[in-house]
């Protein structure tokens, strides 16, 4: 995710993973949720999801809820730090859209 950190932008999978994790969810549920909220436009592969969850947990943007409970799927939820980063990204995207509309006059 280094490239995105440099540019300040979140990748599309990361954006939707963080959005999904505003409620606790396990990996498979995240994949299904992202497909549902994007009407199938964004399908996150399990490999991509694992890499993103690992990186997001390392950055403390998300945390595992039932890490030590064996036999249960690990659930994740967004942290305060993650909420802050996500809200910054939403602000950045809004400015991007506003810039585009100002020049293209909404076309």
């Amino acid at each position: 995710m280094g490239r995105h950190e440099d540019s300040g932008a979140l990748s599309e999978p990361t954006f939707y993973i963080l959005l999904s994790l505003h409620e606790p969810m396990h990996g498979y549920a995240i994949m299904q949720n992202v497909q549902a909220i994007t009407n199938g436009r964004v399908a996150i592969g399990a490999g991509t999801l694992y890499g993103a969850l690992t990186a997001l947990a390392e950055k403390n943007w998300i945390r595992a809820l039932n890490e030590h409970v064996s036999g249960r799927r690990k659930e994740y939820v967004i942290t305060e730090q993650g909420r802050h980063a996500f809200s910054e990204e939403v602000g950045r995207l809004s400015r991007l859209i506003a810039d585009a509309k100002a020049i293209t006059k909404g076309n």
Binding site: S11, G27, G47
Partner: protein, 185 residues
Amino acid sequence: MTTSTTIKKSFTDFGKEQEWLNQMSAEGEAFVSYHGGTYIFVKDEPGAWSYAIEILGQDRKGAESYLSFLEDTGIETVATYAGRAYLRKRNGGAPLELHSDLESRLSQAKKAGAIWSVIPLTQVSIALFLTISAFTEAGTSDLAKGITLVIGIILIVAAIIEHVHFGKPYRERIKQLKKELSIKE
């Protein structure tokens, strides 16, 4: 009784190997076991399973945690062998895409292609070690020196062929992904 088919085959390109496993599945031969170039298939509904090969790398604990995560998403591990995992899922005929973003695909292509740098480098090191030892150790006969030199040359030529020829599809894939990554996520 389930009858199985055993096929011995070798691949230098994991992409081709994955394609073949999916082709076999489409023909009703579901891949169920692998060991050292031996593939075992059982009869199943054509296209019932979609297969993918994943390069796991050297981190064993990380690999276990990854495979367990995949299992939670309905992806079965058919076999693990020499740092790679053979995976499958009942996916309604759709390909099993583990990596949906370019960065993740690039990282996987780099891991997969690394083998055709690591093996040739090891061969070149062995060739150099053998040749230097033969020519610097006192009392080595001219015949032994000659044989060692020939073995060294064979190893180096093989290493060059492997790196240039077998590594080519991976380098092309990496180049293509980098090009795409420069314009989009």
